[in-house]
């Protein structure tokens, strides 16, 4: 199923950061087992202010400033979940989540499986990710492929203010662990959202723009870039659809394949490097399932296979409108 391109009559306008904050607050108000923990999430409200005011409202027992140790934070959350709580963990930046990978991969992702369902892990791990904010080294990684290739995790990444609210609520409500990747360069962009709207299940892609020529398949921080590229492409005579995956795991094969089959041409766009990236998986899946509907190979537009560059050079690395349109041009239109 796809959702409408623009939500009808939003109840309020907010930044993505505010929508995430509201989602946390609403979840904590509704469910006393929801606990927030992380670095600087208390008095400061998090370095991006996503947890602003939570300790003031719920106290340090519910929104906990932890020692500075990511494995300890997530490992503590595992124990809290074993006891029956529903922890939400904030990792301060994408690359700072790596010390917690062992806890995430060996315990959070596997605990349900290794206990035959007896110890579920309803943990949400919020991670600001991606570049484009001028961050110095270790502050801009697109780390989604690590998580998406780990069985047992759901991987969610919103690209609109409404999804930031709705998908975070759905993630916290999930009885499975969710790696919730927040595109940090979109934190301050404002749009409408309706907290009273029904929470959509995770695992569904959304068609953000209809088109007749080809589809750009993307997610998170690359969505605005793709929408801009589609706008520019009109002058070149291409009418591009833009599909926002919203959830990498579980992957919405159904919607992706339906759109690709109807158009026959697809480009996958993401910030992370291409080799072993989610785009490789998506291109392979689409090719396996839609081969006879394809007029051209599925192409990928990604960051380069390099360590994330210094901020003054990052614009060369990040997929931009031109790189996307170059790929569209290579979709064998002459055939």
């Amino acid at each position: 199923m796809t959702t409408a391109v623009s939500p009808a009559a939003p109840a309020r306008t907010a930044s993505m950061a505010q929508a995430l904050n509201t989602a946390l607050r609403d979840a904590m108000r509704e469910d006393p087992t929801v606990h927030m923990l992380g670095e600087d999430v208390g008095a400061l409200g998090g370095v991006f202010r996503i947890t602003d005011g939570l300790t003031a409202e719920f106290g340090p027992d519910r929104c906990l400033d932890t020692p500075l140790a990511e494995a300890g934070i997530l490992g503590t959350a595992v124990g809290m979940a074993m006891y029956g709580l529903r922890p939400v963990v904030e990792m301060q930046f994408d690359a700072f989540a790596y010390p917690a990978l062992e806890q995430l991969f060996s315990h959070v992702a596997k605990m349900r499986n290794r206990t035959a369902g007896r110890l579920p892990m309803p943990i949400t791990v919020r991670i600001p990710y991606g570049g484009g904010i001028g961050g110095v080294e270790h502050h801009s990684d697109a780390s989604e492929a690590y998580y998406a290739s780990t069985p047992g995790l759901h991987v969610v990444t919103p690209a609109t203010v409404a999804d930031a609210y709705g998908l975070l609520r759905a993630s916290i409500a999930s009885d499975d662990p969710v790696v919730f990747l927040e595109p940090k360069r979109m934190y301050w962009g404002k749009d409408g959202f309706d907290p009273a709207a029904p929470v959509e299940p995770i695992g569904r892609a959304a068609l953000r723009r209809t088109g007749t020529s080809a589809v750009l398949i993307t997610y998170g921080p690359s969505l605005p870039v793709c929408l801009e590229a589609a706008e520019v492409a009109k002058a070149e005579g291409w009418d591009l659809a833009v599909l926002d995956l919203r959830t990498l795991v579980p992957f919405d094969d159904e919607t992706v394949c339906r759109v690709v089959r109807s158009l026959g041409r697809a480009v996958v766009v993401h910030e992370a490097g291409g080799f072993g990236g989610t785009g490789a998986e998506i291109a392979a899946r689409v090719t396996e399932r839609c081969f006879h509907h394809l007029a051209a190979p599925v192409l990928r537009v990604t960051g380069f296979d390099i360590p994330y560059p210094p901020p003054m050079l990052e614009h060369h690395h990040l997929p931009g409108v031109d790189r996307i349109l170059d790929a569209v041009a290579r979709l064998q239109w002459e055939d």
Binding site: G79, M80, A81, Y83, E102, A116, E254
Partner: protein, 379 residues
């Protein structure tokens, strides 16, 4: 009012506001100058004979359990068995010191503690047999799954204990670790979190001398592993890990402190891994037979028998009963582990997520087809 009120800044006299002057007098946190011992000392006479007899019984049964599991491994009935032979005092004391409402967080070498806590051996050993990761219901006996990645269960114990404290339940978590595990980052993070949160946790480090082949001298330069506690602001205790009443007493004190809001304790128990690391290990490559023999003289059951006989707490009847119980357990293990386990390949997809993803449904269907094809070939 919250349980975390203790974290508020307190002014340090003579220092600037917010300054980090010493906050704690380290002296009361320092571990015992020598390992605490009870067996062979006058202190033993103050112990409840019922407890001593129970410890003895569990030691004897535990030793037989270790021997039988080792034999089953040599017969190919277990995939691997990291024995706790020689460490039974720590294993049974850890199990006995906890109440039903408490939680045990064992490592892979602690199946005896798990069995001693009441988990059926057939269920406790599925991990090492290879038929299931965790064969028991962790909630039923409040026993966490056996943890293989070293020290990673430490933060789990802290989180669970913290959650229990928040809920007002006076439950304690006991995490079992080894000397090698103390080098891991998760050990450090667990102890630090536990102390900062004042979580009701007890960390029991069984220092058995070796992390597979690497001796403690290559693992740590700390005066003792118990000294590490001081750096976190919690008390450290040092105990003879082969002296079952001593281990029990030191753990009981730590559990009581945790339960009554006194925060965490680190206990180092000095013991020895009499067997190799696992059946796949060759211990003669890194330690001498003389060393092993010396520890066999300091065997936990030997020490216990000698002291309890002297105290006239141990009689022939108890010796016979314990031996019979041990043999009955061994016989049951032989019978049960010689039977082939029931395996359901389709269970592979059952608990990856609460509900299988569409992709896993497809893969489950593929496996079902493969199984059907196999069944046609071999009806």
């Amino acid at each position: 009012m919250t349980v975390l009120d203790h974290r508020h800044h307190t002014a340090v006299p003579g220092w600037l506001p917010g300054a980090t002057a010493p906050r704690t007098d380290p002296a009361p946190l320092l571990p015992d100058p020598a390992p605490v011992r009870v067996l062979g000392t006058p202190a033993l006479e103050k112990y409840d004979p019922v407890l001593l007899r129970e410890l003895y019984r569990r030691l004897v049964v535990g030793r037989r359990y270790n021997q039988q599991a080792t034999t089953l491994t040599k017969q190919g009935r277990l995939a691997v068995y990291p024995a706790s032979t020689g460490q039974e005092a720590c294993q049974v004391a850890a199990a006995l010191v906890l109440e039903e409402r408490d939680w045990l967080f064992p490592s892979y070498r602690d199946t005896l503690a798990v069995v001693s806590r009441g988990v059926d051996p057939l269920e406790a050993l599925t991990l090492l047999r290879g038929n299931a990761h965790t064969g028991y219901d962790p909630r039923a006996t409040r026993t966490a799954p056996l943890c293989t990645p070293l020290a990673t269960q430490g933060p789990h114990a802290v989180g669970l204990a913290h959650a229990a404290r928040l809920s007002g339940e006076p439950a304690v978590a006991l995490a079992m670790l080894g000397d090698g595990g103390t080098s891991e980052g998760d050990f450090h993070e667990a102890l630090n979190f536990a102390a900062v949160l004042q979580a009701p946790v007890v960390f029991l480090v069984q220092n058995n001398g070796y992390a597979i082949s690497v001796p403690l001298s290559a693992q740590s330069a700390a005066p003792t592993l118990a000294h590490k506690a001081v750096g976190y602001g919690m008390p450290g205790r040092l105990v003879d890990g082969n002296d079952a009443p001593a281990v029990h007493a030191v753990l009981a004190e730590a559990v009581e402190r945790a339960r009554t809001g006194g925060g965490p304790t680190l206990v180092e128990a000095l013991t020895y891994r009499v067997e190799a690391h696992t059946n796949a290990d060759d211990a003669t490559r890194y330690r001498t037979g003389a060393e092993v023999e010396a520890w066999r003289e300091h065997d936990p059951i030997l020490l216990m028998e000698r002291a309890l006989r002297e105290l006239r707490v141990l009689d022939d009847e108890l010796v016979r009963d314990a031996a019979e119980e041990a043999e009955a357990l061994a016989a049951r293990m032989r019978a049960e582990f010689h039977a082939e386990p029931e395996l359901d390949p389709m269970s592979l997809f059952a608990h990856v997520y609460a509900e299988p993803t569409p992709q896993l449904r497809e893969q489950a269907a593929q496996l079902a087809e493969e199984l059907a094809a196999e069944a046609e070939v071999q009806p």
